[in-house]
């Protein structure tokens, strides 16, 4: 009887897997239990209190790069949001720039011009084989070696390139500017419907309309017309040199630019590779067939090649966006005040709540990652073959 019982456990697949899983979960629970016990003991011995009450204490440090107002009296919770916004800002700007550079380089790598193609190749090999951190620090040191404020490089009279950042005029919105902004939004929505309308027309009659030209004209001219109707409600405040610094205008700090260049130049190399392989993956017959139908070469690219290439490009592109977002945590190396630098670094040192803070930071990144992959999956579904089970 007893031997039968053991036999059953060892040789019957179901009961064996039940046994193994019970063991694993038991060991896992024991592991967690031991660690929490030990941690609680260690914390108590070192006199470190725990809990999330520190979030409401004033932070006591300043953050120079911020999208929302922040002073040293504000709470750690606010410091968290300042850092989060900075992380999101660099991630969005970086992804945007990296996509543009990446697509350009990817297409150049397929150029029929040998020299062009190989310049792009050298760019890709040199940027993707050097750590992104080294690149960020290198570009940052180049930016810091720009001329001092007094000898600023002047571009178009009102833009100044210095070692303290890029100074440019800042817009001042006066009454009535909101109407101009709204007119732009409405124009964009309108063109969206117009595009559908033209497409429907084209399907009915077979006649092609210059949709792109008309829509661009609408989007460009509507706000300009409203701008003049409302009496030009926009002025610029130019930076003026006063003493040792510029007054007025706005400034993009070298920390931000260093991060932006480092992240986007590095990631663009990877994106260009996915773009290249995506375009190669579209079979040659597709191009030949569309040439045989008499399509012009830019139509072939836009209507035949790119839509099919996107199916291959989107999944790896998503993971590049994720990588860029995670790499934006390297701001701490050059003092860019992102989530890890401000909240995860300075707040942690001041409060000593390592566990709580690291948990919050990690969960935040996890949430961002999951959100990006969720939306990219949606987009991916929309470009995949339809009705082709």
């Amino acid at each position: 009887m007893q031997t039968n019982f053991f036999r059953k456990i060892i040789f019957d697949e179901k009961s064996r897997s039940l046994l193994i899983q019970t063991l694993v979960i038991g060991l896992f629970a024991l592991f967690i239990y031991l660690i929490t016990q030990q941690t609680a003991y260690n914390l108590e011995k070192r006199g470190i209190s725990s809990g999330f009450d520190f979030l409401h204490i004033s932070a006591g440090y300043d953050i120079s790069i911020r999208l929302i107002p922040f002073t040293s009296e504000d709470t750690h919770l606010r410091a968290y949001f300042v850092g989060l916004l900075n992380t999101l800002m660099i991630a969005v700007c970086g992804c945007f720039l990296a996509t543009i550079i990446g697509f350009l380089v990817g297409i150049i790598r397929l150029s029929s011009n040998w020299l062009f193609r190989n310049i792009a190749y050298v760019y890709v090999e040199f940027t993707r084989n050097v750590p992104v951190l080294v690149q960020i620090i290198l570009y940052y040191s180049i930016l810091l070696n720009l001329p001092k404020i007094k000898q600023a490089i002047v571009i178009f009279d009102n833009f100044y390139l210095t070692n303290r950042g890029f100074f440019s005029p800042s817009p001042i919105f006066k009454d009535g500017f909101s109407i101009v902004a709204w007119s732009l939004v409405i124009a964009i929505i309108f063109t969206f419907f117009l595009k559908r309308f033209f497409k429907k027309k084209q399907e009915e009659t077979g006649k092609q309309y210059p949709t792109f030209m008309i829509n661009s004209a609408i989007i460009i001219f509507t706000p300009i017309i409203f701008y003049y109707i409302m009496g030009m409600p926009l002025e610029f405040d130019s930076p003026v040199l006063k003493g040792f610094n510029f007054k007025g205008g706005m400034v993009i700090r070298p920390e931000f630019l260093g991060m932006l260049f480092g992240l986007s130049i590095y990631t663009a190399a990877f994106i260009s590779e996915t773009v290249r392989s995506g375009i190669i993956s579209v079979s040659k017959g597709q191009r030949e067939a569309s040439q045989a139908l008499g399509l012009k070469s830019n139509f072939i690219m836009r209507l035949i090649i790119i839509p099919q290439a996107l199916r291959v490009i989107i999944p790896p592109l998503t993971s590049q966006y994720l990588n860029l977002t995670k790499n934006s945590s390297l701001g701490i190396a050059i003092g860019y005040a992102d989530l890890v630098h401000g909240f995860g670094g300075i707040s942690l040192n001041q409060t000593g709540r390592a566990i709580e803070i690291m948990m919050m930071v990690m969960l935040t990144y996890l949430t961002i990652s999951l959100t990006i992959s969720f939306f990219m999956n949606l987009y991916n579904k929309s470009v995949q073959f339809k009705g082709n089970a």
Partner: protein
């Protein structure tokens, strides 16, 4: 484009190549000229900066450069060439960190033996491969003994390690330790047991969802909190734990790709022959899956090797950390470009080498399968 290609058969093949690749049309010719000017400008600037106008050990007056005041560019206004003397002056630190210089032969020996230890894994058609593989398994113990010390050798604490030694140590050990772990994770993720599967999925997705720097911070700050008194891993070991866990999650995904590519029939055939799960996995599934997965695995290894530079942020002196320390020294400060270009070059050599190897494998696998 192709309609305008001029076919001149009587000319030489070089002429044809030039026409086809550089001057096939008006637009192409203009692009070629622009590209030539660009290459000339960038190339001549970089070469004169890095080589022709640069100081190596001696400046233009023939003096040995002992601090940045001796660099030509700091003596002569208008000179801009690089001053590589900082690399020569700090060479030992870049290679060994603060490792006692009279013991540096131990590190050199390990550097020299490292290629022998991995060559057996990288290439399958070398003579005496079996002995190389044996050596691969002995090597970690040998390396530990030589680098850290033990009976007969003085102990050199890991706080003295630095530069390329730390970079290679984290890269190679991280990959080596992550490999078995990642196989288990990949198998676990495809397991039919829901609890094991979900544990593996949560672990892999969690690690892949957070930046390495947060893991390094966590390991650095929290590992001592988790462990009992007296067990206090040093900084390098803490970083190694984080790097290994990180790498194992990424490698597991690469291996999972390989596992998915194995047709079900292989497993079913093995089972019908009466092989157990572990026999099937070890003798049928893994050898095929790993072979397919090698190129993506190498890619994750390149990623990890680059990511080892992050340990600078938790205060370890890897290659980049040593470089920054050199720049913080008053005698050499401000020679950023020289230091960062040198570090970039070192990383480039390793990573480019690995990516070439990965390409070579891909080509080989293609011919193997056809």
């Amino acid at each position: 484009m192709s309609s305008t290609t001029i076919q001149i058969i009587s000319r030489s093949k070089y002429y044809n190549w030039l026409v086809k690749n550089l001057f096939s049309s008006w637009v192409n010719t203009i692009l070629t000229v622009i590209a030539l000017i660009f290459v000339y400008q960038v190339g001549s600037f970089f070469l004169s900066w890095a080589i022709f106008d640069a100081d190596f050990r001696y400046n233009f007056q023939g003096e040995l450069i002992i601090d940045r005041g001796f660099c030509s560019k700091n003596i002569m206004p208008g000179e801009y060439g690089a001053c590589w003397a900082i690399i020569f002056a700090r060479w030992n630190q870049f290679m060994y960190g603060l490792y006692p210089i009279e013991e540096a032969w131990r590190v050199n020996l390990i550097y020299a033996l490292l290629p022998l230890a991995i060559i057996g894994i990288l290439f399958d058609k070398i003579p005496f491969r079996r002995y190389f593989i044996y050596f691969t398994f002995i090597f970690p113990f040998l390396a530990y003994f030589m680098l850290y010390g033990g009976p007969g050798l003085s102990v050199v604490g890991t706080n003295k390690w630095g530069g390329l030694l730390v970079t290679l140590f984290l890269g190679v050990t991280g990959i080596g330790l992550a490999f078995p772990l990642s196989i288990l994770l990949a198998l676990g993720r495809r397991s039919k047991m829901p609890i094991i599967k979900s544990l593996c999925v949560v672990f892999i997705e969690f690690i892949r969802g957070v930046p390495l720097i947060t893991l390094l911070f966590t390991a650095n700050v929290m590992l001592p909190l988790f462990l009992p008194d007296g067990v206090n891993p040093d900084n390098l070991l803490r970083a190694l734990v984080a790097v290994t866990l990180f790498q194992s999650a990424y490698m597991a995904e690469a291996i999972r790709g390989g596992l998915q590519a194995i047709p079900r029939g292989q497993v079913e055939a093995a089972q019908s022959l009466g092989l157990s799960y572990w026999q099937t996995t070890r003798k049928i599934v893994l050898p095929q899956a790993l072979k397919i997965a090698i190129p993506p695995i190498v890619n994750t290894c390149i990623g990890l090797f680059k990511d080892t530079s992050l340990v600078l942020i938790i205060g370890l002196f890897d290659l980049l950390g040593i470089g920054r320390a050199a720049l913080a020294d008053m005698t050499w400060t401000k020679l950023y470009y020289e230091v960062y270009v040198f570090i970039s070059l070192v990383f480039f050599i390793f990573c480019f080498g690995m990516s070439r190897y990965s390409l070579y494998l891909e080509k080989k696998l293609k011919t193997d399968n056809s």
